[in-house]
Symmetry: D3
């Protein structure tokens, strides 16, 4: 297997990449037709931060951050660096020194199915990270990997230049060629949700708004009293 | 299997349900004779919030929140909605729109062995949740389940109308018919702990207060010097 | 097996033990030659707290905190109590009453591969803890164990008197006899990192500072354009 | 909390308890309306063994098998001993000596969310076990628990005298008062499956037998060619 | 999101698909340049079976096997059905009745990140399966999904028509367009390994055959006596 | 950190090392006073094999088997190679080629908290392995580690030359200096168990043999009828 660093990737439209942060990982995931969510194992180390940006991808050896160094050189303003070790790897692949380099280059955040260290410092310097593990365990710089090749992050495929949307609910990946569609659908969804929120605050409920009574009836769900329930159901 | 929504459940005494919040999940669990704790997998998404209320229970299909919508209609002021999917199910079963409906009806919180989404918004709106997972993954509304039937939440059985006590240590379930006993025992326990706390702050230790020296002696635990230890113990 | 409480352990130099807190678990772990880290399963219940101290060790039965009571009596100002149940044991081995005793005796923190309860109170009283689990589940006081014998905490061996360094990244153990070496190496490492941080903030990158280009070349990593990549690589 | 050994439990009908073994855990679980399955964490230590019997239940302290000794004395011919420690507890609660006692009394098998040891000997002596863990770790006999009280095994409630059905797919619990219903429904289900099996072996498929085409159509699932798919779907 | 069943997928060359079974998941994974392995969570339910075939892919809702029924109709002789629920889903998605249909159509095996039931029957009828879970838990047929779209199985992307190689070590996916390359590289690797095996059986070791002494020397690994080790290394 | 290969380790007495295999991991663990068990995560890939031997230890980088090659050269007849990666590492560190070398040198088995591959071949060639993972994932040979230094395997410390006892229950480590004590205690324990087994087969039970009735009485466990139980206990 040849390992490569791809140097001239095409990024998603920067305006769209920026605009998606407003909607967050859950709304954008819905807007894509319930796709692109990387799963609940990738968690933020901070609270209340919502970012988006274009992916610089890294395939790393477990416990080896050599290729992350190489990725920093390829990163531009507005990027998010996404690092996937070949297997689960609870190491601190980056700490505050690497975060300093990333922040200096305009990188908006770091996402990994491996781990990070110096979590207190990262929070203090305002550099957000989403990670499977926080770990002080140190890495080496001995093994080849690749930068800007397609990777699998949890349940999502990430190609270089895709959009990464991350917040307290985790990380959603928007394929580059679906960026415009995702933004439009997110805006539509947010508008509809805002309208519904007003009605819910006024006391309406989704059973009516979403017309769920016929669904329950079709599925044979019965409304019964406690007495009726105990008559027809034995214990458990 | 017939799926049902039970519409007229008997709730535990509301005054007691409210009063138990003060003591928290650990003290109430102890007061029940070390029972009712749902286990450490059900975690709060916020910090420093302590609630209690009466359970509206939901048995849901994994990744399907249809029955949670039905449960909201059955919920009263002072309730806690408790949702158990048939198996582990890291989906965002509810987000801020459903929380808005719950909050509007006076529901005090949401407890689940599944997952929630919009965690940042839930914290912002002050609607507390305890959950096995935070996940942006969206659900469907396709499959029947039941509302207000007995369910198993982690290691605890929850019957509709039972009391739910939840805080930073997790969730404890108080059977409806043990509510008064739980309150009385919690008060007694808290009083005793307050008295002990004063003595511990003054420098006494539990070895004396709890009379543990004879216990250790009975079990054959020996007090030795490092030199004696090394003489009689090989490595490890 | 005889169970013992060793009463006169030799502690690491107190000045050094105190001084190591400044550097944190990751730096000290690196300073030891990437050793001593207890692993990512032992997590803080609070954020932004950094401590160090000398270990009082406890080998406990699962779900039984008898020996923790015994350990408190052996603890001095500047100690950290480290408790390892024989197997994974998600119980609340200590709560605010035991923390009160520890705090009164000058114990700086509590570290365990078991669990703690009253997490909200522990945070409120400023007594820091690192733990595998937060759990309201109560323990008994029935089973013998030992105090101040060697234990295995995650991936690290802890001997009584060793130094415990704990912060948001987890827990690192410094063998007593390596204390001076660890401090010196931590200081050197911190100084070097500070110098590098200045250069990174000025725009330099680790690819240059760490001279990583020859490493990549030696490993055969190739820099290619997207077009070259697609020519030579099939999908995936 | 008072700990008890209940000495005169009512067992499910022995003939029915025996007859259910033939159908296995999956069919019986379906026959109960998809209920009673203890979940996939409780696994057999042997292959190809299918048993059923009446439950003698044990609530044990973690790592403490005292109450299992007490349960053996309460066990009759045709029973299955079911042991649930208060929390996950990967100890060898029983080995071949305890299995010898059980086998001598006609106990048909052992089920636990804790662990067993001497797994090779258990297989050799033909005493089947279902367990969350195989572990050589030894237990103590120090802590009170209860025999023949209701317990929670994985996702299932077990009351003493309930029927336990166990095979390579795991363990299903049949409430005592649903025993006759479970047998009848299992027989009906097995008969229907046998008829379907003949038709499937002859080449028919469930899309036709179960009339699933309208279901797919109602859900809006579209049959498309690869060319149509690529036209309308972007990558992913 | 539109759900689809793609009806005319292009499959990898059948001769190659068949030929790869001989080499097994580990060798083929190596032959692809250490790629395509689905990870250690997908395990065989039988021992000593090695298969390969072309993928019919299924994206299913958790706990819902509707789309597996649809996939069976699309399956040909020589296929392997690969089913990925949207999230972890420990249900028995298929049992012996569905396996009967698959076997009748020439399907060589079943691979899933969900679960299977009737594991004893599947082994008895010689229909092999690789799965994350064995579970008696029953599924429903209520929710839309897709057949023959790209899916993510553990760490591997599977496109319809790709080759699936499965044995006791797990599952490796060969992209359709790399089939010939994979076969050729597997044959070369197997030949080389056979030659080395002869030399190893004769007493040679890989330190010599692979010329590893200079690698160790370059990395600074030192050969020392126990006495030298103890002189230069403190405890741990 | 200097990495070393220690070349002249002192091994435990070979006769004792061999003799301990007969007793198995559970009995020897008990004989050591319930010590030395590596925990339930390290599982055999075969069934019914019981070995013992002297440890050659390896500290490896995750996903890197370089030091295992170095360890083979240090291994003698009667050794067991024990490999611990710095963190959890589900890779196939060894396969049949490395097992061939080990077997040729008289190595009795392989134990690891990482992973193995070619599991079918290892079983076929009769080379036993105990491992946390079976994985086809390939390793590299890039990173330094050490051979014959102390390591932590699950919950047990292993020093080079210690005795490794492994069977279907997992792996127990006997410190070299406790070898004679372990053998003697194992023999005594086995003799006692044999005597008890005869009495259990004759119908006696451990409640009598172990004199457990007073223990239960002291702990306050009460024998009650079902009627008494229901009178004094509310639900749950």
């Amino acid at each position: 297997m040849t390992h490569v660093v791809v140097t001239d990737i095409v990024r998603a439209d920067l305006e769209i990449a920026r605009a998606l942060a407003e909607f967050g990982s859950a709304t954008v995931h819905e807007a894509l037709g319930r796709a692109g969510y990387a799963g609940p194992r990738i968690r933020p180390i901070q609270q209340g931060v919502r970012i988006s940006g274009t992916a610089v991808t890294v395939q790393a050896a477990p416990g080896d951050n050599l290729m992350v160094h190489a990725a920093i050189e390829q990163a531009h303003d507005g990027d998010v660096i996404v690092v996937v070790p070949t297997t689960e790897s609870p190491f601190g692949f980056i700490g505050d020194l690497m975060a300093t380099q990333m922040q200096r280059r305009g990188v908006r955040g770091y996402v990994t199915s491996g781990g990070v260290r110096d979590s207190q410092e990262l929070r203090a310097m305002g550099f957000p990270a989403w990670t499977a593990e926080v770990s002080a365990q140190g890495t080496v710089k001995d093994t080849a990997g690749s930068v800007n090749v397609p990777i699998v992050l949890g349940g999502a495929v990430v190609e270089p230049g895709d959009i990464v949307v991350a917040d307290d609910d985790g990380v959603t990946i928007v394929p580059r060629e679906r960026a415009a569609e995702a933004l439009e659908a997110s805006q539509a969804r947010a508008a509809k949700e805002a309208a519904n929120r007003v009605r819910f605050e006024a006391g309406e409920i989704s059973m009516d708004l979403n017309n769920l009574r016929p669904v329950l009836a079709d599925l044979g769900v019965q409304y019964v009293t406690q007495a009726e329930f105990e008559e027809t159901h034995d214990r458990r």
